[in-house]
């Protein structure tokens, strides 16, 4: 089959994935040709060699450093309000690249499939990856598929690695926060964490929250136009904003002062946190970043963020201070203050 055949016309194989689909033989070839290749279709993937070959000139034209990252995605359930594991696997790696200021270009896709997964569901999740990558302007150029026995994986694990290029002069690092810098987030916190909790349906809470799962590289590009000297940038995934800020405070040897009243949190997320005794500062996000920028540039960066769909609810939520070194302190909306520490283990709901 050639990749420029009309992929939309090929129905996905029926039935479920079996060990035979991981055997390297005809069954595997069918799975790849009928599900994976039509979705990812692009010129670098098309030759179907064991590796993608990326012309260097194309990379060096964009900057002077290669950004290179990998992440593995495991989530239950595979599909949740606002996204699925496929979208997550593309956004997550795109965002890891973007947090260096890089322009993300190419991704890999490693699928680890538990036998018994419905072909139709696999096809849908792979389509979701393809769709998200297309929208983000990145290409999935090489990959691998493994099938493992029932119980050896939870339906589907995805690994994506990615490369991007960092423009000359951009120097974003967790060590660069300085007293007087402003702390900015691009929108409401904890949406993904609560969306997953609700989607697991263990809570019997009648509420709808969409995961914030989204690529952030275009937002970062807009921020860099407003202020090429962004000091720190990280996406606040597991461990939430609290964990990212603690990492910044420790690496930069500064203190960080947050203002609770300025931190954007959705009403439904706030409500769920109240009921369960969770703290939105520690909840996972999949489309939220924390930026530390020079104080004098804060308003310009904020304006640039708010002009972008991924930053419409952006807010300045705090300030970098000289001390206490290595600590994040929150001024509570009530008028007191408290330390916001790193998360220990998982957040566990309180008994009463």
């Amino acid at each position: 089959m050639k990749l420029d055949d009309h992929p939309g016309n090929i129905p996905p194989p029926s039935g479920v994935v079996t060990m035979a689909h991981g055997g390297g033989g005809r069954a595997m070839r069918t799975l790849i040709e009928r599900i994976v290749l039509p979705a990812f279709n692009n010129p670098l993937l098309a030759p179907l060699e064991d590796q993608a070959r990326v012309p260097l000139a194309e990379l060096t034209a964009l900057g002077d450093r290669l950004a290179f990252t990998t992440d593995s995605y495991v989530v239950t359930p595979l599909t949740f309000p606002g996204g699925d594991i496929g979208k997550l696997a593309v956004c997550g790696t795109v965002n890891d690249l973007a947090m260096s200021g890089a322009r993300p270009l190419y991704l890999t896709c490693g699928l680890v499939i538990e036998e018994g997964l419905e072909m139709a569901q696999l096809a849908q999740l792979v389509q979701s990856m393809a769709h998200t990558a297309h929208a983000a302007g990145v290409a999935i150029v090489t990959g691998d598929t493994k099938v493992v026995e029932r119980g050896a994986a939870d339906k589907l694990f995805i690994n994506t690695a990615g490369i991007g290029v960092v423009a000359a002069g951009v120097n974003i690092s967790a060590t660069r926060a300085r007293p007087g810098d402003a702390v900015i987030v691009n929108g409401s916190l904890g949406d993904h964490g609560v969306a997953i909790l609700l989607a697991r349906n263990e809570l019997a809470l009648a509420a709808e929250v969409l995961s914030d799962c989204q690529p952030l590289h275009e937002l970062v590009a807009a921020m860099l136009v407003a202020c090429p000297d962004i000091h720190c940038l990280r996406d606040a995934t597991r461990g939430g904003v609290a964990t990212v800020l603690n990492e910044f405070a420790l690496s930069s040897k500064v203190g960080i002062r947050l203002r609770e009243a300025d931190i954007p949190v959705n009403e439904v997320v706030r409500g769920a946190c109240e009921i369960l005794g969770l703290d939105p500062l520690y909840l996972a996000n999949e489309g939220k970043l924390v930026a530390i920028v020079p104080g004098e540039s804060a308003d310009m960066v904020l304006a640039a963020m708010r002009a972008h769909p991924a930053g419409r609810e952006a807010a300045i939520v705090g300030t970098v201070t000289a001390d206490p070194v290595g600590s994040v302190v929150l001024s509570t909306a009530f008028g007191g203050y408290r330390v916001v520490d790193m998360l220990v283990g998982e957040q566990l709901p309180r008994i009463c």
Partner: protein
């Protein structure tokens, strides 16, 4: 958020704090030491730290003593070992509230048992555990029943429901405890210098006001049953101080929107039907306290995991270096404990006060490690 933000109004807080300061100064001067007010309930400890109340109140004239009212924190090691042993029985699904997962036993926590292959599942209600029993008729589902009078009724109703439905593969490992004998034990402690109490709001919702009468009458200490929002705590504190400055010792109820004087008759009836007092129960840090725990009545023996399975039931002494008991009684502050923040941290807790977010030590560690600065100075940091 309605019904929450009203109780978090910073303007009202300032007014209350000014009143509290006015009352506390002469009271503390007369005693020649800071006033010591115990918040019995871990929920209040959580509120105090989460909203930074401690940082808003006078430091030199007023101290909070964080009481024993966190059920996770007072669980002795031996009982955690029993949980792990039950969870490791083949065919058992062991269900628990989330924050009990990390409590250390002498052979590790439930979280570690789970990693080791035991089927330990987090539930949000005992009814979730019963539902698991319905769905898995070939498995034995044990619910780790834990908590004061607050959670006792829901456990009792779940047992009654199981009995009605004739569900046989469901049982409780009962660790419910009662607050009154414990307050009494603390009041009888010779080292005690407490001046008054914030009473537990959720427990009182079930048991009402009257069981606290002895605190005012026999021990001459004021107690105010308090809600859990920050303004509730401040107002209750103000009410205790007002009693002290007027020379009164009474049981007052600040949490009237929830707590009725006679408690909740239906809940009490269910608890009475299902549970009976144990002669004594072991508390972490406080030792054995008479009539401070409950077990299932004989009529519900088939739902009692302690009768249905073999439970090691070993008494394990608290680690020697642990000073949980002194912290619980208010003799020392969490950060004055020998192992605070060194051998005992939230990552590797020795004592369970370091585990739950309601535990005094964890609250100190998570929210309060930074030395409290004079309030003028903190204002400066905030732009």
């Amino acid at each position: 958020m309605r019904f929450a933000d009203e109780f978090r109004d910073p303007e009202k807080a300032r007014t209350l704090i000014a009143e509290i300061e006015r009352l506390v100064v002469p009271l503390s001067a007369a005693r020649g030491r800071p006033l010591q007010i115990m918040e019995v309930c871990g929920g209040h400890t959580h509120t105090i730290f989460r909203y930074g109340l401690k940082t808003m109140l006078p430091e030199k004239t007023l101290e909070f003593v964080h009481g024993p009212g966190c059920p996770v924190c007072v669980l002795p090691m031996g009982r955690v070992d029993d949980c792990v042993a039950l969870a490791q029985i083949p065919n058992v699904i062991f269900t628990t509230f989330g924050d009990a997962m990390r409590v250390p036993g002498s052979k590790g926590s439930l979280l570690q048992a789970k990693a080791g292959g035991a089927d330990v599942r987090m539930v949000y209600s005992p009814l979730d555990a019963l539902e698991l029993a319905r769905k898995n008729p070939q498995r034995e589902v044990i619910f780790f029943a834990l908590g004061f009078e607050t959670t006792m009724p829901s456990t009792a109703l779940t047992v009654l429901q199981a009995k009605r439905e004739g569900i046989r593969n469901f049982s409780l490992f009962c660790n419910h405890i009662t607050i009154i004998p414990t307050i009494k034990a603390i009041l009888d402690s010779p080292e005690l210098t407490l001046d008054g109490f914030l009473g537990p709001g959720h427990v009182s919702m079930v048991i009402g006001n009257r069981p606290y009468d002895f605190i005012a009458k026999r021990y001459g200490k004021p107690i105010v049953i308090a809600g859990f929002e920050p303004l509730d705590v401040l107002q209750s504190l103000w009410m205790v101080l007002k009693q002290l400055s007027e020379g009164r010792c009474e049981v007052e109820n600040q949490y009237q929107r929830v707590v009725a004087e006679g408690g909740n008759a239906q809940a009490l009836a269910a608890v009475g039907e299902v549970f009976e007092l144990r002669e004594f129960f072991e508390w972490r840090g406080l030792g054995s306290i008479d009539h401070s725990g409950v077990r299932l009545r004989a009529a519900f023996a088939e739902y009692d995991a302690e009768r249905k399975f073999i439970v090691p039931n070993l008494k394990i002494a608290d680690p020697k270096s642990c000073q949980c008991g002194e912290v619980l009684k208010g003799v020392i502050k969490p950060n004055q404990c020998k192992v605070f923040g060194t051998a005992c941290t939230p990552e590797k807790p020795l004592g369970s006060l370091m585990v739950s977010s309601e535990g005094a030590c964890a609250a100190y560690y998570q929210y309060g490690r930074i030395e409290m600065k004079p309030r003028g100075e903190t204002e400066k940091v905030t732009p």
